[in-house]
Symmetry: C2
Subunit: 473 residues, 2 copies
């Protein structure tokens, strides 16, 4: 009896090992199909070409943003998805106006022009521009140290550089971006008349990098103009200030905040064949800053997300769960699209199980970061080996992405594609974020990597947190 | 007694675990120091700037190659190494001459210019150029199929593209490069009057990519001119040939092979403090093709290798073994430098234990490939975890590099730095292999990654194969 039992056990476990092997082989083959299709017959690069070169920078509320909505909707419709629709969302509209102008004046008549760009959300300077002496600080915490006495009537120059020793450049960005976002609101408290910020760029070059800023509860009358200057100019200004602290800085910004306008998230769906009520999302953001054409931020994420659904169609994989591509509007200066999508999902009682965002540039993919429960993450790690042939190695817990963030609730696993980050801030929010700086293969590898993860989530499901907790007990 | 024994055992193993932990911590701190120094205070980028922008393309036997020898020798001398010297080596000298010219003629008077570059080592066309009908083939194996009948008197157009589905682009290169290297020698056997080759480039663009070719035992009188055309032009030519197989291709090459000339490997050394007779090498090649400035191939490898020794000096690490930087001459069209270095080492009875080459571009480092014994490789794998904070994950057995290859003998472990390979062939051997295409951080990360591996090899030693074999038994 015992022997029979053992034999059955051996047979069963051999059978189960065999089945598992078969399942792994099937997964492995599916990933190969996905990568081949993306690299040999991909559409992401052509889509990006159109979005970048035919449409260009797509700031929320702009004509280009609306063109991007229409173009991507039409392209999704051509894919033969089950549903394609626009989700209305009101977005802020800020315009840069005529190109900014700035110079450093070291003595009467002796000036040097400076590469400058208004920060998104800034007020304009007075019609004649703002001209004042400059005080250089290394961050918001310096303001208190110098106090009203030294700041009043001056332009505050935030010059804390991004840390070059950090391997993850997003971490270096995180360590500096407060001076860009809140510098003006804080400096105004000390009587500053304006703010200029060193561009969030690890490279020395001539591009000013814009990005969002906010005035918090600063009354309208107290709001001061804020702009970014290039790293080369920041370095020059810092150097010359050491020799001449009485120099004056002049700048003229022509930007304007308008009323909110109507815009849209663009959504396409392949309805799940077995569990249509379980929803997976892949997405990027359709809006971009206006200085470049927004190819890396986030044209890449948009076309990669669209490509995930196209790849599924092309390799003939019908997802069991519902798969949606969501092209979010207004990530850059409001996050209205991300918030709206989550709000509507909640109102409708939709059950999102997974959301993957690509918003870190179209560079060679290295892996993903996951906002997941421990047991869920353990399950995801069991798939890591499948990605080895594609040199995808980075599977870590961490932040996912701004647009999918608002979906966080209950069981949902959020994830962010993590491409190589070394060059991202060379282009981020600057005039050189252009199509030429995106490599076709790198973009396509990213799309295939995303599709592969979505396939695995769909095919194997994700542990539900409640189940996971039970298992732990 | 037993209890005492156990207590001692527990104490000893705890002590040894503690020591190991301490050692790992020391390694981890040293790596952090190395990376910090490279990223915050590196010299590799400045050196590359000079090599690329002040000297430029450095083909063997050229004035620029000699300038590069003198510049790098002087820079190594400034580092305060124990020895710096030039190792004489005779190198081939091939010159491109006046810029090449080519066109496709579809009917009398109707022509389209083509971007073309002679392959290194090719003979010139006759003074009036070569003009003939074209036969397109997908590789050398097609020649036999078409035979003399269809090839005689024509220009053979080798148009096999690099495979885009291969993740490692060097593998794709390896699958095509035979048509570039041996196409002319093989086609001549069938009476072809010339050869044009699709550029070894995964991207569609207008750059012809040169590279070495050889005539094997083809008699001088039978040698036919060979040149690369850009991928865009190859695609155009292939398309138009389908419509008009009688079109003619004209090209004029002005290249010339000269007598061998005197040149040098540049070598710098930090003599080992404990085991000076055990030699470790880091290196890249000083020569480059002439079309661009050779920044990725292999200016990057040169300056990274120099930087390894400078980093050791800067962080105050004195290697136990002897550490040499070798800047090899003539990798591109002869490998004379690599062969000479190994030959001299053998003559002198030097004992090389490790050699690391960087010759795959200055892109984000992903890891290394190793030409090593199993036991040695297992030891190296035990260091992999130390590289995780730097996102270095690729540790595989495989080829090392052309220049260190001739050192293979006995115990020596050879290794090659493996940067991200996606963009390498966009620039390889073409006019756009320039300084602007190298990212400072990516270059510096590569240098630090190399220095870290050399440090670990020096600090822990490498298993000797004999020892390893004994352990296996």
């Amino acid at each position: 009896m015992k022997r029979i039992f053992l034999t059955v056990l051996v047979f069963l476990s051999a059978h189960s090992a065999f089945s598992q092997m078969k399942a792994e082989e099937a997964d492995s083959l599916m990933l190969r199909k996905i990568y081949d299709m993306s690299l040999l017959n991909g559409k992401s690069y052509d889509w990006l070409d159109y979005l970048s070169n035919k449409i260009g920078g797509r700031l929320s509320g702009s004509y280009q943003a609306q063109q991007a909505v229409e173009y991507t909707k039409a392209q999704l419709e051509e894919l033969g998805l089950d549903k394609v629709w626009l989700q209305p969302v009101m977005v802020p509209k800020w315009t840069r106006g005529a190109k900014e102008f700035a110079y450093v004046q070291t003595s009467p008549g002796v000036t040097k022009n400076v590469n400058i760009a208004a920060l998104g959300g800034s007020v304009a300077t007075p019609a004649g521009g703002t001209k004042a002496r400059v005080i250089e600080v290394q961050g918001i915490e310096d303001l208190e140290r110098y106090g009203k006495e030294q700041i009043q009537g001056k332009i505050v120059f935030f010059n804390r550089p991004m840390r070059a020793d950090l391997i993850n450049t997003f971490e270096a960005y995180g360590g500096c971006v407060d001076q860009r976002y809140s510098g003006a609101a804080e400096a105004a408290k000390y009587g500053a008349v304006g703010v200029i910020v060193r561009s969030m760029n690890l490279r020395m070059d001539d591009f000013p990098h814009t990005g969002s800023m906010g005035y918090g509860d600063t009354p309208v009358s107290k709001r001061i103009p804020a702009a970014a200057i290039s790293t080369n100019d920041a370095s020059y200004l810092s150097g010359i200030l050491k020799m001449n602290k009485d120099l004056e800085f002049y700048y003229k910004l022509n930007c304007e905040q308008h009323e909110d306008v109507q815009s849209y998230n663009v959504i396409g769906e392949i309805t799940g064949s077995e569990n249509p009520e379980e929803i997976m999302v892949v997405g990027g953001h359709l809006d971009s800053w206006d200085l470049g054409d927004g190819s890396h931020d986030d044209g890449a994420g948009v076309v990669q997300s669209m490509e995930v659904l196209r790849l599924f169609k092309e390799v003939g994989y019908k997802p069991r769960k519902t798969l949606r591509v969501v092209l979010f509007m207004n990530e850059e200066n409001g996050l209205r699209g991300g918030k709206k999508y989550a709000e509507v999902a909640k109102t409708k009682g939709e059950h999102h199980v997974f959301a993957l965002e690509s918003d870190s540039g179209g560079f060679t993919p290295r892996g993903f970061s996951f906002d997941a429960d421990k047991a869920q993450f353990a399950q995801i790690l069991s798939w890591q080996e499948l990605f080895k042939p594609y040199l995808i190695h980075y599977f870590e817990l961490g932040e996912s992405g701004a647009d999918v963030g608002p979906l966080k609730e209950g069981d949902v696993v959020l994830a962010g594609l993590r491409p190589d980050s070394q060059r991202y801030f060379d282009y981020h929010h600057a005039a050189n974020d252009t199509f030429e700086e995106v490599n076709k293969r790198e973009l396509e590898l990213g799309a295939a990597t995303m599709a592969s993860l979505v396939y695995l989530v769909d095919n194997h499901g994700l542990k539900q947190i409640n189940t996971a907790k039970k298992e732990k007990m």
